[in-house]
Symmetry: C2
Subunit: 280 residues, 2 copies
């Protein structure tokens, strides 16, 4: 099977300018690379690095990026956060702890909403991430418009930088594509069954059960029928599934199933959903 | 500063049974460890592994878990997905590609909603993740109730397993704590200003500007006043900020600022937000 065949158009539809990601003084090339991969997963490409400890370019970053080369190739390096955010109009600083700063604190979903609104007007925006060990200092946070933090378990709040990038990028894309997923249940391949076919299956099942005197005592029949019908109603059966179930009942009734035209002498071995089963 | 002081109670409040995470035949101990850390970040602890390629326990997994030892210590190893899900009542299979399977496909947010609903009734649930290289096979997906997939960029859809675990765990916790963040803007430390104080600041600023004949020509005064007032209204000033701004205006007016009681002869050097500035 081809990977990602039949991608829904809505999942590709990003009509807003994506934010950039700014990593302030990252220490490990691996973290830069993993952040780049996380960005690529959710359609972000503008990665900016302020004073990477081990310099740039970085082989470790490229290796960790797992083929997100288009992000790594375009990395810009800056010598201050001021320079890195200079062309942006709105910036979120990410922090894992509360601060004595009078600045609104948002969740990644709220931040994503704000940045997609601004991105819809083609405004340049960004997320600012701090150092692995101790994050951003207050002067750096002051350069941002608002703070974003994650709803972590306070008992285990230390999040890897690339993981924090991932969650912000995920929320951004989710908002930008309006919750569209690359694929959903394929209703062309699996059209839901028409009620008349479902009811015909019920009738078939119940008459087969009548034949073997399943409903005993007879006064319990109405309730048992309701129970059985509810089971199958909850399953939201497709067309194909109704045909398969009728095949099952026919097989259990010991009816002879029709041979396939192309395999005239095939043995009936269990149920095949693609068989044309006898209609009762 | 103590990290994570003043954590809001709502952010700790998880009243629902958390889901487990099942990794099917993971190859790399690092991925198991990073997944364990991601789980711990969002309050999940029940990690189950089906046939880990390099056996169990794994030093690499423990190192990559970055002190999520409480997750690593409780890992359960199974020899089949059937065994790993046996005690669960609802399971999501995660997959990155559409399949010929008639099963609803959900986003991580929708899945989180379902599992927190079930967890509120103390039902055991789980997320099933596939192998690094090729995910889950169709028989394994068939063991799940529904499918969960991420809104990735279809052009770069290959997500690291631990990253996929992270997003599912994040959405679960976000739902379980009802969007509570560990901290928000501290409104006790930063109470919003009363309107009368804001208006008094406006009056102060405008009278200072009148003194230096800022509003020229005079007929432009009403519009310019509106412009200035709007700037400060948008800032949603706190009490402290209004005091700081009044200090700024007083300083620019060359008024003498009151010396602090404890520092009777302090020189006025710029503005200090904690100064008590003269009230006009």
């Amino acid at each position: 099977m081809t990977r990602n065949a039949n991608i829904r158009d809505e999942a590709r539809q990003v009509d807003v300018r994506p934010p950039c990601i700014i990593l302030c003084e990252p220490q490990l090339g691996e973290n830069i690379g993993t952040a780049a991969r996380a960005m690529a997963n959710f359609g972000l490409t503008d990665l900016r690095i302020v004073n990477p400890r081990d310099g740039w370019p970085s082989d470790k970053a490229r290796a960790a990026a797992s083929r997100a080369d288009h992000v790594i190739d375009c990395v810009q390096v800056f010598d201050s956060v001021e320079a890195a955010v200079a062309d942006l109009t709105y910036v979120y600083a990410t922090t894992a702890r509360s601060r004595e700063i009078s600045k609104p604190v948002r969740g990644p979903d709220e931040a994503a909403l704000k940045l997609t609104e601004l991105g819809a007007s083609d405004l340049a925006t960004g997320y600012l991430f701090g150092r692995e060990r101790w994050g951003l200092n207050n002067d750096e946070v002051a350069l941002a418009d608002e703070i974003v933090t994650l709803p972590v378990d306070p008992e285990f709040a230390s999040l890897n930088i690339a993981q924090a990038v991932l969650v912000c990028a995920y929320e951004w894309r989710k908002t930008a594509v309006k919750d569209a997923l690359p694929f959903r249940l394929n209703e062309e391949l699996h059209p839901p069954a028409a009620k008349e076919d479902v009811v015909r299956f019920f009738d078939h099942l119940e008459s087969a059960l009548d034949t073997v005197t399943f409903f005993r005592p007879p006064e319990r029949r109405p309730n048992m029928v309701l129970t059985l019908r509810n089971i199958f109603q909850k399953a939201e059966l497709t067309d194909q599934e109704v045909r398969a179930l009728r095949g099952v009942v026919a097989a259990l009734e010991n009816r002879r199933t029709r041979p396939r035209p192309e395999e005239p002498r095939v043995k009936t071995k269990g149920v095949q959903a693609t068989n044309d089963q006898d209609e009762s």
